[in-house]
Symmetry: C2
Subunit: 316 residues, 2 copies
């Protein structure tokens, strides 16, 4: 039977899965991305895992028909990972071509947020939607736009860099070299930066002051905010305000039906979603008010692999 | 032979034209929009003009197959003009339905900026492009986005309201009721507001001070800037900076190949385009730098009708 592989590449882990035509994950393996500074060695190891999965697979005569990859800074048009700041590979890596030549099957690559959007559309909360956005709130802020039922790649494959719209003119220094990008405020690392700044600039007591530096995370901030710690609540509110305002501007351009939040910071759930929605509504042009839902993603880690596999199935 | 009508509705004039399948305008009439506070009377008059055109038409047995309309606040999905601030008709006007019932042909409506984008794609500077934006710099700032070769309507038909992204937080009061919208700075009326503010707040001599109030326009400002008047040059530069920054943010979302400027303020040509491009580049995320052209629209007034007619031909 025909099978596709979905590969979800992250700066820390890479998840590889075999997926059948109905979206069932038949077999899954995890790879430690950081251990492979040489992308050729990474691909060799991924191949070994896929072969291993094919042997293990419960189906008769599994035939690998295609590979789909979601990766940070992945470019759909070129099949390359280009200048990804949090990956072990520097510069431009022709990852789709490396897989294609080694595995001898069609390989399609896109960025991780676009793969998440495909996953959300096929197997998550966006089933049946033609216009929506998935926002990944991890170390950075990624976004995958679906318009007219298709992923928006733009002219060069790089559309959907919502994390780099300017939220605060001349604001925080971003990994991209510019200042004030949305992701320096609204992301798992952005909320930690806000908390550190606010703790430094106030004398207000907070149990967060006594946490070791490496335990200050979007998770601990959300926990303390939900327990009523005033400074943590203010930090969540500020994050929601910055994100909500940027979403109101984004809606003016693409007018989506729904916005899905995914990733580390999104796990704060309604604690973040409710004020973000309020700030977005407060800032929306009247024609867009009370129309757009902000929802938690329904993707699990399996679904990121499903999103990548969906890309492969689309091209087989 | 089969013919479609293209109708370009503006707050002041409405242009009606008959267009054949190859994009030739066979006949054209102009209607004074402001004289028709009742949309039903407007449609009756437009019908008389179309019938008149069909009689005048040089082709044998012209058969009207469809009508396409471009109008401010026109909604593609509903066929309505909805709450257009500069039109004689208030609230929601079911204009496509009015034409359909009276003329008995399929009628399709979209907003004027989307019609301009269709015209630019079929008959203007965007021929062959799959991802671009047309920005109309008139009384307001309108925008029509083409992605993957299709007009971006969004979930509710209102995508492409770039004029209402916030350029200056808590800035100028906008016709939409909010503050700081891009169109209050970057439009034919926005640049006049800037000039008035700057003349009021400085004592710098300028020949623009002696102009009667109703002669201060984007045209006279551009003329004086090109003659070297320092305050006019600064005002153009500020307008370009505000627009260039907003374009840099927009590019992050849709990644277009080119941005076309159309309408009154765009007639300033390279005087506006060169600094706008420089400010956009200065603010772009590195992956987008030196890729995106800002170009003057190649649409004439005829082409606005052609854009509306293109919409009709698409649906016949």
């Amino acid at each position: 039977m025909d099978i596709c592989a979905g590969i979800d590449i992250g700066g820390t882990n890479t998840v590889i899965g075999l997926v059948d035509e109905r979206g069932e994950v038949l077999c899954q393996r995890i790879l430690d991305t950081k251990k492979f500074p040489d992308p050729e060695v990474f691909v060799a190891q991924a191949k070994a895992m896929i072969d291993d999965c094919l042997n293990d697979c419960s189906r008769e005569n599994p035939a690998l028909k295609g590979i789909g990859i979601g990766a940070p800074n992945g470019n759909y048009y070129t099949g390359c990972i280009e200048f990804a700041p949090n990956m072990p590979w520097k510069g431009v890596v022709q990852l789709a071509e490396l897989f294609r030549s080694r595995m001898n099957v069609k390989t399609t690559l896109t960025n991780d947020a676009n793969a998440a959007a495909l996953g959300e559309m096929l197997f998550g909360g966006a089933r049946g939607m033609q216009n929506f956005v998935v926002i990944t709130l991890g170390t950075g802020l990624g976004s995958g736009f679906v318009v007219n039922g298709e992923v928006l790649y733009g002219h060069d494959g790089f559309a959907g860099e919502l994390g780099h719209v300017i939220a605060v003119r001349d604001g925080r220094l971003c990994g991209c070299g510019r200042r004030g990008c949305l992701e320096t405020y609204a992301s798992a690392s952005g909320i930690v930066r806000t908390m550190r700044e606010w703790l430094d600039n106030s004398a207000q007591p907070s149990p967060l002051r006594s946490l070791p530096d490496d335990e200050l995370s979007s998770k601990t901030i959300a926990e303390h905010a939900s327990k009523g710690d005033p400074i943590a609540m203010e930090v969540v509110d500020y994050t929601a305000k910055t994100l909500g305002r940027a979403l109101a501007d984004m809606v003016c351009i693409t007018s989506p039906e729904a916005i899905f939040l995914y990733g580390g910071l999104a796990q704060a759930g309604s604690l973040l979603i409710v004020p973000t929605k309020n700030y977005m509504e407060e800032n929306l042009l009247n024609i867009f008010r009370n129309k757009i839902e902000i929802l938690p993603s329904q993707l699990t880690s399996t679904a990121a692999v499903l999103g990548a596999a969906a890309l492969a199935w689309k091209h087989v």
